[in-house]
């Protein structure tokens, strides 16, 4: 099966990768270390729409999709 080389925008930066299955879950796995994924309370939005964790697998992603991956941080 031919792999797809694509550009995504993750947290404001271009991210180029080859994905066999262009799902959000695969993209996040590629972008992050799996340890981080399991330990952090992270949330994800694609093109300004939050995608619930249970839907990451079925969420297809496309060329130049804008992905935001957020986590808790210090705040007042």
């Amino acid at each position: 099966m031919e792999t797809l080389k694509n550009i995504y925008i993750i947290n404001g930066q271009n991210f180029i990768c080859n994905l066999k299955e262009p799902s959000l879950e695969k993209l996040i796995e590629t972008f992050l270390n799996k340890t981080i994924m399991s330990q952090s309370n992270i949330a994800v939005a694609v093109n300004n729409k939050v995608v619930e964790k249970r839907n990451w697998k079925k969420k297809k992603i496309y060329f130049k999709d804008r992905v935001e991956i957020v986590a808790p941080f210090f705040g007042g």
Partner: protein
């Protein structure tokens, strides 16, 4: 002392002090200060994941607190809504401290964007802690549309200027029947105490502790100030009089030399 629990969204709390987690010199001081403050609720922000921080913010916090995410840094309704939705997904909480600022210099809340964002988020089952200006009508309107807690500032964020418009605060307390906290502007423990004496339900603060010379002790001072002010308010103050009212009777004194 009778029980004076604070009920928020069906959850009981004994502390009326919500603490921010920003600007502390280091994590050890942050943890000690949170402990010293007696707080049960802490605020945090929603930020892009930092890949160099492998453990994540929450793993650095030693005690289990109820988490109140904020929308700090948002300028528009759209930005605030997506941030609130991300926070809900990130922490599995529908609590959000809604901050919508209008400028970078004074960080003053934008009442129009805030009101619109609140309307949308209330409809979407969020429990909103609305950080707002000290405008009594705005506070009342935010309460009326279903915000869980209305949180007027007393002066700009991080200014430490304390109460600038006591009269407005008195009106807010009078016309808002729900829970009202004060958020932003507290500089000294006496500010926190005064707020509580005025009958407000609690205080949210950060800079006044984090930027002090001794955050752990200042956190304790704030804890005591909030308790003291609340206890005073609940005990009922005496009526003010323009004339002196002697506390010791004149009857039986030796006189008249």
């Amino acid at each position: 002392m009778s029980k004076d629990e604070l009920l928020i969204d069906g959850k009981k709390f004994t502390s009326r002090l919500i603490m921010g987690t920003s600007l502390f010199p280091n994590l050890e001081v942050l943890n000690k200060s949170l402990l010293s403050s007696g707080t049960e609720i802490i605020t945090l922000s929603v930020r892009r994941l930092n890949l160099s921080n492998k453990k994540g913010f929450l793993s650095h916090i030693k005690k289990k607190y109820t988490l109140l995410p904020n929308t700090a840094g948002c300028f528009t309704k759209k930005e605030a809504i997506i941030t609130a939705e991300l926070a809900r997904e990130m922490l599995t909480t529908n609590w959000i401290k809604l901050e919508l600022i209008s400028d970078e210099e004074m960080l003053l809340p934008d009442p129009i964007e805030l009101y619109e964002a609140c309307k949308y988020l209330v409809k979407n089952k969020f429990k909103i802690f609305a950080y707002c200006s000290d405008d009594p009508i705005l506070c009342k309107r935010l309460e009326d549309i279903g915000c869980e807690i209305v949180m007027p500032l007393i002066s700009p964020i991080g200014s430490g200027l304390g109460i600038r418009n006591e009269h407005n605060l008195e009106i807010i307390r009078k016309i808002c029947s729900g829970k009202v906290f004060v958020d932003a502007g507290i500089g000294k423990p006496s500010d926190a105490s005064k707020i509580m004496e005025m009958g407000f339900d609690g205080v949210l603060l950060n800079s006044s502790v984090a930027r002090s010379l001794n955050p752990e002790d200042m956190a304790n001072a704030m804890r005591l100030a909030v308790i003291s002010g609340r206890l005073g308010y609940k005990s009922g103050f005496i009526e003010k009089s323009k004339l002196a009212l002697s506390s010791t009777t004149f009857k039986g004194k030796i006189s008249n030399f």
